[in-house]
Each structure stands twice: as C-alpha cells, then as structure tokens.
C-alpha cells in the first residue's frame, strides 16, 4: 500500500493541474481529494475511476481482484464502443470468498490470471485492486510481476482500491499504472509525421468516430486514443506520437504531462464539443504537428476542412432555428465540456439560463460558467424540491444534465436531455453538435409534455401546485419575519466537506474582519475540503461589503474585537 500512497501523493502534486498551480504548498499537501461526508456523499470510488479510465482498452482482460460487489454489481455498464475486440466487456473477477479473506487472496488472483490467459489469450491482463484485498495485504504488484514473468505477457497492476478516494483520483491512478507499466513498452509498426495521441477520450456512444473521419481526411493518424477504442498495442506504443490532445476532461492530465516530460510529446487541452471548439482543436492538432515537422500545407487543408464542415453544420442547424429560437435551456453539469456546446445552442437561437440568471446577455456564457462550474457538484445534493424551484425560477424550457438529475426533471415533467456519460447519443464534432440540436428539438417538441403535465381530473391540485404553494408560503414567511430569514440564511451549509454553515462564516468575517476567501477558509475550514466553495466564500464576502472596513478601520475593528 505504500506504493499506492506515494502514487496518490504524486498525483496530488501534479503540476499540470490548473487547480494545483493556484494552491499554496500547504494546500497542495492536503491534496485534491474531496473529503467524503458519511451519510451525505455521492459518486464513485477510486476503483470505479480507474476502471472507467482503462476499461475502454478493448482487447485487454480487465480483472477485478475483490469480492463480488466490485465487479458483479457493475460490469458491462459503460457506453464505450469498440471497433474490434469486445473482450473489454467481459467481466473478470476473483470473487473472493471468506476463506480468501482469512488466508489471503493472492493465490486465487494468480490462478485467475492463468485461467484468463489460457482461455482468452489477451495481449495483456489489467488487474484492479479493491478495498478488501488491500486491507488483507494482498500484494497485487508482486502477483502481477510473477504472473507476467511466468506467462510471458504483460500483467498490469492498477492499484486504486475504492477507499483511497473518489473517482477522479482513480482516473489519475489508472494513468499512473499505464505510465509505469504500458506506455513505451512496445513500438509502432511504423510512424508518420501525422501521428497523434488523444488522451482522456473514452469513445462513449462511439463519439470518437464522429471526429475520426475528419482526421482521416487530413491524413492525421490517431496513434493511440487513451483509452477509447484503443488496443493494448496502441497504448504501449503511444510514446512515438508527435503530439497529443488532452480532451477537456481533466482526468488524465498526468498522462499528458508525463508523456511530454518523458517522450517530448507536446500536448494541448482541447475539446471536440461544439463547433468552434472542434475547429480550434483541429487547428491546434495541425499546429503542433507542423511544429514537430509535418509539412506546413497541413494547416491549409485543415482550414479548408474546417470551413467546409462549419458551413455544413450551420446549414444543418439552420432549419431548427425557427423552432428553437427563444427556447430557454438550463445546463447543469459537473464537467466542463458541456459548456463548449453553448455557442451552438445560441447559434440555433436558444437562450441559456442558469439558476439565477433570468435573461441571457453576451456575458451570460461566462457568468453561467462561473456560477455553475462552482455550484455544479451541489446539484446532486439539492433536495428535489429545491431543484424543482431552481428549474422553475430559471423558466427553462429544457434541461440538459447528467443522469443523476434526470428523475427530478422528468418528475417535474420538464424536457430533459442526457449530456453525461450515460447518454445514448453522440454529440462530438460537427455532426455531433447538429445531433444535439436535433435531439433538443425532439425533446422540446415531444407532445408527451403536454400529456403528462395534465392534472389527473380527480386531483384538486397537482404536486407542482402543492410545491409552488409550499415554496411561496416559505418565501412569504421569510419575508414577514426577518429573523427567520436570517436564521434560514445562516443555517445554509456552505462548505459541505467540512460542514460549515453560512452563519459560521458570517460570524468569522465580522469577528476577524476578514476580506479574502483564503482568510475565511483559514479561519473556518470552509473550502479546505474539495475547495469548490471558494467561489461562494467570495460571494459572501461581496454581500458583506459593509463589513469590509478600510485597512485602518480594519485595524481599529481588530482592536475593538480584541
């Protein structure tokens, strides 16, 4: 486990991570692991994250070492697509039993690897560590090493048991596993000046294939996609790429950076979501390749493709404009990538509305991004009624979000589109964006909404009316009773990780005359967990401007307080 710990520390120090760069030495030491609150947490574990990151490698046997829960409850549930082998969809697990827990599971693991190689003969076996064998001290690194030697085949330990942290951490630990054991261990059959890696793309719903034809046309070869639709050999020989694109998901930043460090493969962070972003990404790929020696004419061809495809896409979106103009879209997502669709939605005439933004302006995009980016993870924690209120306040016509909030949207009978990983539609590249517009149109104009919104004739009120009344009553009560309103405000949790209420923060600001979020954080512990509430702290400081004394006042206040 010491190797896991050091890996984790390594990941925490990841200099490529934008967030880390803004942190103090002390903060960095704490790492970016969100502290989980018992009874109030949601989301996958580190093992889940590791598996998500590597499982799209199609020809590898992914063996989960642990009790049945880790694989049995979750296998074959990802939407990645393969153009070749489907071995990745086969669930392998040691399914350890009580005896293994008592006497150790290494022997079973070793024999499992043997069976897999004998029966399925994959180019490699990936072994995922989970909590229970980690607790009982099963040394998977050693078992993998021995098996690899014995069977003459790569057996890669992925040391990311669930309890070390959340999904995000697991993504990165998976990256470390392939950096240590896979990348650079084989050589490509040949290389070209047009070889690139795409990092952090999982080919969900086959999205990679929405972009690949464009790269094919340009003569650009995806040497390795890490890890969507990848073969083991692709990953193993990916160190010969000339350049890399890291798709906006931050999950594999460590791979991109370390490959740059070790193999001098320059990378950029880009996105294939959205028309403009796709064009930018194509340009950037070509730019990097030209920098690395590809002929300069590549850029001309790239621009020609971009011009043609953008025109095609806008032409395809055009017919929807009339139907979509003025429709309000509420975008809720924890990831960054959905924001890149904003331009296309706006181009199709839609307005984007956020939790608190009622009319969209030119600055909306930035503002929503700021607002939603920070509150995003809160959405999951909101009570459904609060969420309903938000939907209502936003006066949205349709909500785009991840599967988690689906049921609230549907129960609220609000058109909804899945834009998270579980979605069935592919929205990447130019065609993907057209697809998204088309799907929005389909969802918005589905007559089902008119149907399901009808009140059952025997019901005096719909639950929406009940909810609205409750909300209104609450608002009225608060308006009528400032003390109650104050109490309500003060009892709102701000930092969920550390369970810090707004009252505590307000008191600290007043008492210690704090004027920066960092200072508030220092005093109250708020923001020392996942850090996502730092923005909120700044907002609170803003609303408490009158408590910001001038430096001199500050001093006198401090004296008064003392």
């Amino acid at each position: 486990m010491s190797s896991v710990s050091s890996k984790i520390q390594d990941v925490f120090n990841e200099p490529g991570c934008g967030k880390n760069q803004g942190k103090s030495e002390k903060e960095r030491k704490k790492g970016c692991t969100k502290q989980l609150q018992p009874g109030g947490a949601a989301g996958g574990c580190a093992f889940d994250g590791a598996k998500i990151a590597l499982q799209p490698i199609t020809d590898v046997a992914h063996l989960v070492h642990g009790p049945i829960a880790c694989e049995g409850n979750s296998w074959d549930n990802r939407g990645s697509k393969s153009s070749g082998s489907n071995l990745w969809r086969t669930g392998f697990t040691t399914d350890i039993n009580e005896t293994d827990v008592v006497f150790g599971g290494e022997k079973r693991l070793y024999k499992s690897i043997k069976e897999i190689i004998e029966k399925y003969d994959p180019p490699a076996v990936f072994v995922y560590q989970t909590c229970v064998p980690a607790m009982i001290g099963d040394d998977i690194d050693a078992v993998c090493k021995a098996a690899s030697k014995k069977f003459g085949k790569p057996v890669v330990p992925v040391n990311s048991p669930g309890f070390v942290g959340p999904k995000n951490l697991g993504n990165k630990l998976a990256g470390e596993a392939i950096l240590d054991h896979v990348i650079g261990t084989e050589e490509p059959e040949y290389t070209t000046p047009y070889d690139i890696n795409i990092i952090g793309e999982y080919n969900l719903s086959g999205e990679l294939w929405q972009v690949k034809p464009l790269l094919d046309e340009l003569g650009i070869r995806i040497l390795a996609c890490i890890s969507g639709d990848a073969k083991y050999h692709d990953i193993a020989s990916s160190h010969r790429a000339r350049a890399a694109m890291m798709v906006c998901s931050k999950s594999m930043i460590n791979i991109a950076r370390k490959m740059e460090e070790r193999f001098e493969i320059p990378f950029f962070e880009g996105s294939f979501y959205g028309i403009g972003d796709t064009s930018d990404a194509l340009r950037e790929i070509s730019r990097l390749l030209i920098e690395r020696g590809a002929p300069a004419e590549l850029m001309e061809r790239t621009e020609a493709v971009i011009a043609r495809e953008e025109a095609r896409a806008w032409a395809a979106i055009e017919p929807y404009k009339k139907r979509l103009t003025g429709k309000k879209v509420l975008l809720i997502t924890g990831g960054v990538k959905s924001w890149s669709v904003v331009a296309a939605l706006q181009e199709a005439g839609m307005e984007l509305v956020g939790t608190s933004v009622k009319k969209s302006t030119k600055e909306d995009k930035e503002r929503i991004k700021e607002l939603m980016g920070q509150d995003a993870h809160m959405i999951d924690d909101m009570s459904p009624r609060e969420m309903y209120k938000m939907l209502k306040d936003a006066k949205a016509d349709i909500m785009l979000s991840g599967g988690r909030s689906q049921f609230v949207a549907l129960k609220a009978k609000m058109p909804w589109l899945d834009i998270n990983q579980e979605r069935h539609h592919a929205y990447m590249g130019y065609v993907g964006m057209v697809e998204l517009v088309k799907e929005i149109d389909k969802a918005l104009y589905n007559p089902v909404w008119e149907q399901v919104r009808k009140r059952a004739p025997w019901e005096e009120k719909t639950w929406e009316e009940v909810a609205d009344a409750a909300i209104a009553e609450e608002a009225a009560a608060l308006a009528a009773n400032p003390e109650l309103a104050r109490e309500k405000r003060r009892s709102t949790p701000v930092c969920k990780c550390k369970s810090v209420l707004r009252g505590t923060i307000e008191d600290a600001i007043v008492e210690h005359a704090l004027s920066t979020a960092e200072a508030v954080s220092e005093k109250t512990q708020a923001g020392t967990g996942c850090g996502s509430c730092m923005g909120k702290l700044e907002k609170i400081l803003e609303t408490m401007d009158h408590w910001h004394p001038s430096p001199s006042e500050n001093k006198s206040q401090a004296q008064q307080a003392a």
Binding site: K81, S83, S205, G206, W209, Q210, K212, P213, L214, E217, R308, A311, R312, A313, A315, A316, E318, P319, L410, K413, H424, A426, G429, Y430, V431, V434, E435, K438, K442, A443, Y445, N446, P447, V448, E450, Q451, V452, K454, A456, P457, W458
Partner: protein
C-alpha cells in the same frame, strides 16, 4: 388534419381489409348460446371459421346456409329455412344470428321476409331469437359488420323502457368496438369493479373467446351476454361505447330506453382514460381507488421513460379506423410520427389522425409507404412486408394467426396503455443501431452537406 384518400388502382394487393359478414359473425359470437349463420355459399363460412380458429385458437361456432349455384339463382328461402330448422334441432341455441354475404345480396334475398315465413311455418322456433343483418361482402369492412350487428341487436332485442323508469344505479353497459379484445374487455371490467360498478357487455367476447376451458362441451357459443341481459340493457344507468363505430348502437339504445351514453373514441392513452375514470367517478359517486391512482402514476412514469425512445420515430400503421386512430394518437402523444396510415373503410376519425394522408387501401400501399419507418403495426398479414422492409413488426388486430394470446393482448386503460408503451419502447430499444466507425463517414463532397449531417444516424 389528414386527407383521406382512396388509391386509384384496380387490383387490391395483400388485403388489409376483411369482409363485413365475419365482423358480424364475431359480434354474434359474444352472445350466449348463439349460433352465427352465414347466408351464403359454404366457402364464405369456411374462410371465416378458419380465420377465427387461427386467431383465437378455439373451436368456433359458425354455420352456413350452404347456397349452391342453383339455390343462388332460385333464392335462398329454402336454405335459410332448412339451416335454421337444422340448427334449432341439433344445437338448440337461444339465438341464431344470420348475416348475409355477397352471393345472397347480389341475388337480393329478402331474408327478413324469409324469417317471417319461416316463423309462420315453424312455431317450434318461437323460443329462438332470429336476428338478421345485411352485410354484403362487396361493401364496407369488418368493423362495419360488427357495428351494424350490435345496432341491430339493440333494436331487436332490448326491451324498451320509459325515460323516467328506475334504473340499476351500479350497472353500466359497455358497447365495445370490434377492435377490443377479450383482454381489453376484462381490463375495463376490472376498472369498473374497482368503482363498485357492474357491467353488461354487448357483445361480450371476454366470456366466450378468451380461451378458457369450458365446463362442458357446447356446440354454440360459450359465455357471452345472455338474451335476458340484452333485454335488460335499458335498466342500466349509463352506456359506455368504445370506438366511434359504436356510436350508432349507443344512440339506438338511448332512443329506445333513454340510457345516456358516452362514446370514447379510444381508451389507449392518458387523456381518454382520465375522462373515462372521471365518468366512473360521476356514475359511481365514489372517489378514485388507490389502485387506479397508482396505475395512472405508473402510466405517466412509463410515458416519461418511453418518450426518449419514441421521439422522432416513424410508425406505419395498417388497421381498421378505430384501432388506427387509437394507435396513431397514442404513439403521437409519445413523440412518434404516423408516417403511413392505411385503413379499410371510412370513418369520421380518419381526418383527425395526425398525419398527412390516410389511405383506404391495402398492405401493398402500406408497404410502399413504410419504407424507412422504425416500426410496422398491423395484423399478422403484415409479416411479409416487415420481413421485406426489415423493420420491427408489432402484430395487432385481427387476424393474428402466427402468435399465441391474441385474445389477451390488452391496450386499454392506464395499465394496458402502460404495457403497450413499454412493449413498443422495448422494440425500439432492441432494434437500435450500434454506432460503428463508419456511422459518421463523411458525405461525398458534392452531396448536400446539411441533409447528410442531419440524418447521420
């Protein structure tokens, strides 16, 4: 919204339509201890019999006046007489339901007059009801034969009652269209029972052709509504007709007995069932039972879950007017498009269908229009078209000879709608196309880029 058109062609290819005499016979089969009788040549009966046997997988009572070539020319009095007498002595039915056919209508047999003569000559037939319906094969279609028969039964067998007469407060009448299965009728009964309401069904196939094992062998119909019950229909508090085709029968019943009626043009879908349940509340004076409330909630949930899969789908439907209307409107409300609609006969419902054109045509017409659709819904004869077009095929309507359980297919009520919705959504899911590296191949340079991109998958 739709324009109703009839194709100009002379030859009907792959018929969707069935003849009205067999619709009439099926209606008679929902009456207790009845023997349906075709006035026509033996083949008319044989074809109808085989069709129903294959659909219901049951022994079917259906007799014929066995008109020969000579008898056809001379007129069928003797044949009708002999048939009625023979049936009366052999099968001892309470009622013989006589439907004419093309042969006897071409000759112009006056069966009503025949019956008068037979009655005079055969007083031993007095205890047996003889109901005659004119149903030439060369006019109208199956559901017309059914509807005319029910109207005739009402006119002839229901006891008139004064408008102010006392009625049974908990009893309602159901006049189901030909497109309702025994399962549908059972579902409606279940709903009414939840409100403490009893119902009489004219005709009641749920008691006769629902595939139960009879207590003993009977040569006539099993179960069904009895003549006494038919006579007493006027004592119910309300009549519920399902399918526009049943309006005439409901009107006839009202004018004879004063029983008010409500016609539901369909009971598949959320809104019509809301109206139906509201009616049940009004009639029974009871609140909506928990079971029904939950069923409504389940349907709404099913619609929400399913709309993702229905949205934008194209459906080709071949069905008689009332069934076509029900399927088209239900799927429209889930976001699907009725891309092709073919039916058998005219009806006021047709122009209300949310599509451009409704054809009174055949399965060749439907097949031509169904290319590129995501689903074909019609009776079992659609199987060839579905195979050729390689699109999913949902069997609905009569005949359904290549699957079991036709009598139990249930699409009415919240629950029936829910099950149909899931079933079809699952067909869409099962037939979804997995993307491949070629799915989004670039269009040819000279193609219309926009169109290509929109229809990428």
């Amino acid at each position: 919204m739709a324009t109703v058109i009839t194709p100009k062609k002379s030859c009907s290819v792959n018929p969707l339509k069935m003849s009205q005499p067999i619709g009439s016979a099926l209606a008679f089969m929902g009456i207790k201890n009845c023997m349906p009788l075709f006035h026509g040549s033996q083949g008319c009966t044989s074809f109808g019999l085989v069709l129903f046997v294959r659909h219901f997988k049951e022994a079917i009572p259906l007799q014929t006046t066995a008109m020969s070539e000579v008898a056809t020319v001379l007129g069928g009095l003797e044949n009708v007489e002999q048939a009625v007498v023979t049936i009366a002595s052999r099968q001892k039915p309470s009622i013989i339901g006589i439907s004419s056919t093309g042969v006897t209508e071409t000759k112009g047999d006056d069966v009503d007059a025949y019956i008068k003569l037979i009655r005079e000559k055969h007083p031993e037939l007095d205890p047996i009801s003889l109901v005659y319906v004119s149903t030439p094969d060369f006019k109208d279609a199956f559901q017309d034969g059914w509807a005319k028969t029910v109207t005739k039964l009402v006119e002839q067998l229901v006891e008139p009652i004064s408008a102010g007469a006392p009625r049974l407060p908990n009893r309602v009448n159901l006049l189901p269209g030909a497109h309702l299965t025994p399962g549908d009728i059972d579902e409606i009964r279940d709903i009414l029972e939840a409100f403490g309401l009893e119902m009489l069904v004219l005709p009641d196939l749920s008691g006769s052709l629902d595939g139960h094992i009879p207590d003993d062998f009977t040569p006539t119909t099993l179960g069904g509504i009895s003549l006494e019950e038919i006579a007493s229909l006027g004592r119910s508090v309300h009549t519920i007709a399902v399918g526009e085709q049943m309006r005439d029968a409901a009107v006839a019943l009202e004018s004879k007995t004063g029983v008010p009626y409500t016609v539901f043009d369909r009971l598949t879908g959320l809104e019509p069932n809301d109206q139906f349940i509201s009616l049940c509340v009004r009639i029974s004076g009871r609140p909506v039972p928990t079971k029904i409330r939950r069923q409504r909630g389940q349907l709404v949930d099913a619609m929400l879950d399913a709309h993702f899969h229905f949205g934008g789908k194209k459906i080709a439907i071949g069905a008689e007017p009332d069934l076509l209307w029900a399927l088209s409107q239900w799927s429209h409300e889930l976001g699907a498009e009725t891309a092709a609609a073919v039916t058998t006969t005219s009806s006021p419902m047709l122009q209300r269908i949310a599509t451009d054109e409704v054809l009174i045509g055949d399965l060749e017409d439907l097949e031509a229009r169904a290319a590129g659709c995501d689903l074909l819904m019609t009776h079992s004869h659609g199987r060839q078209a579905a195979e050729r077009l390689k699109i999913p095929f949902y069997r609905i309507g009569i005949p359904m000879f290549d699957r079991l359980g036709a009598a139990h297919q249930t699409i009415v009520g919240y629950r029936g709608t829910r099950n149909l919705t899931f079933e079809i959504a699952n067909m869409f899911i099962a037939n979804g196309h997995e993307p491949t590296p070629e799915t989004w191949s670039l269009p040819k340079e000279n193609e219309n880029a926009g169109t290509a991109a929109v229809t990428a998958h």
